[in-house]
Each structure stands twice: as C-alpha cells, then as structure tokens.
Subunit: 142 residues, 2 copies
C-alpha cells in the first residue's frame, strides 16, 4: 500500500485511490486476474469505480512497466504484477494460472535464435494441463 503509492509516483503516475487499489490488488494476488475479475473484486470496496477506469488503469500500469499483460490463449488478457517475463502454466479444469521459475527455461531463446536466425527479444511460454487438485477431482469423478 505504501509500496504501491511510492511505485506509482516513481513512475510518474498520480496515486489516486483507484490506481492504488488496482495496483495493490495485483501486487498481492497470484491469480493473474482479467479486467473483469479486477473490477468485480474491487467493486465491493470501491463501488463508484467504473470498468472504464480499470481498463484505463491497467493500460497506464502496463505502459509504466509496473505490470505485464498475459495472453493465456483465451479471448481476454490477464494481468500480473510480476513484470519480468516468466513461464506460466494454466489448469484446463479450474482455469487458474500459475507461475513457473524462469531459470529452468532460460536457455530457450538461444535455441530459438539458433533455429530461426531471429534476434529474439522476448518469449512467452505457456503450459496447459491439470493442476494437482483438479487431477484428484478428475480421478474421483471417473
């Protein structure tokens, strides 16, 4: 919260209640929420905040480099306050998205470069499957 205010200001963004709430929410969740989810989660405590503000705010935060936009392959984007690029894994059953350790996949860009002659600047790695909890549910329901 203190942290959010400081970081916002440091990046030239006014620390309005809405921005603080949204950024703070993203800093403290691992759920990789969508715009809709952010809006719904904050609505109880910020009933006057509009969806348009959430859209505008995540865009400002993204421009400032405070959050990153994820594209898990759904129709919409998800947001993550961990801005360094790192691999994600999504459960196809419960739809949750988890982080993976980038160190384990650090060598990939070199492989891609070697194969394509591209100058690789970024990578997005998404894995899909069943999370441990949903594996149990699936087993139980068979």
């Amino acid at each position: 919260m203190e942290q959010s205010v400081t970081l916002l200001k440091k990046h030239g963004l006014k620390a309005t209640p809405q921005r603080i709430a949204i950024y703070d929410y993203l800093l403290h969740t691992e759920a990789h929420p969508t715009v809709d989810t952010i809006y719904a989660s904050l609505h109880p405590t910020h009933p006057t905040m509009s969806l348009a503000t959430v859209y505008k705010t995540v865009e400002s935060l993204r421009e400032a480099g405070l959050i990153q936009q994820l594209n898990v392959g759904e129709e919409c984007f998800r947001y993550d306050a961990r801005t360094s690029s790192h691999p994600h894994v999504q459960c196809l059953h419960c739809r949750r998205v988890f982080d993976l350790d980038p160190a384990s996949f650090a060598d990939l860009s070199d492989r891609a470069r070697a194969q394509s002659s591209f100058l690789i600047t970024q990578a997005q790695l998404y894995f899909y499957g069943l999370c441990p909890e949903c594996q149990q549910v699936q087993d139980a329901s068979d």
Copy 2:
C-alpha cells in the same frame, strides 16, 4: 484439394465449397492468417462467402481437430493447419509468424511437470523478435 475433401469427410464435416476453400487455404499457407485475412484472401474467388461463415468454419475445423488456433498475443486469433503443437516465433516488425521445430523443445513439458506437479498436456511457446529481413531494414534505417 482432393486431400481437403477427404479429410473433411473423414471428420464428419460436409465438404462444402466454402469449407474446402478455407481448409485448403490453411493447408497451403504458412502465414498463420486471422479470420479477417482468410476472408479477404478468399473473397476474390468466393465473393458470396460471408465473414460469419469464416468464423463458423474455423470453429468447426478447430473442433474437428483439423486446424489449431494460435494466440500470438494480439487481440485476435490466428489459424494453422499444422495441428501438432509446435513453437512459433513472431517478428515484432513485420508481424509475420513462423514455425519452429518442436523437436528442439520437446523436453520442456517434463521441466514444467517437474516444477508444478501439473499433468501437462499441451504447451504453447512463442518467441518474439526481429526476423532476418527486418533486422537488415532496422540496421539500414539507423
């Protein structure tokens, strides 16, 4: 063309001219086109075909497993007749999408599984950067 008809029927889809055209187009391009691109490309030869049909058709083809849907991180999906999952690399300058050889990245699912305890079923690997051609353009313009 023969091939397209056979494959469509084998998957329980009626071989209509529109479907044949769309599937055939996807089979013979490496451009990973969007719905819009497909529509625009086929419009000259199929002037009566509607956008709605393209949307419905790619969805049918995807359900049948004849094509796969890609999400390169843009607002829209791209389509690819290579249905086995394989890594892609996109040029951030010309926006083209190229395939990479899956064999070079085959070991990744194991790493993800080891780290997350997920039952990994799919992966999508996207790399971004500058293609060889655009590297030259960039250099020249500097």
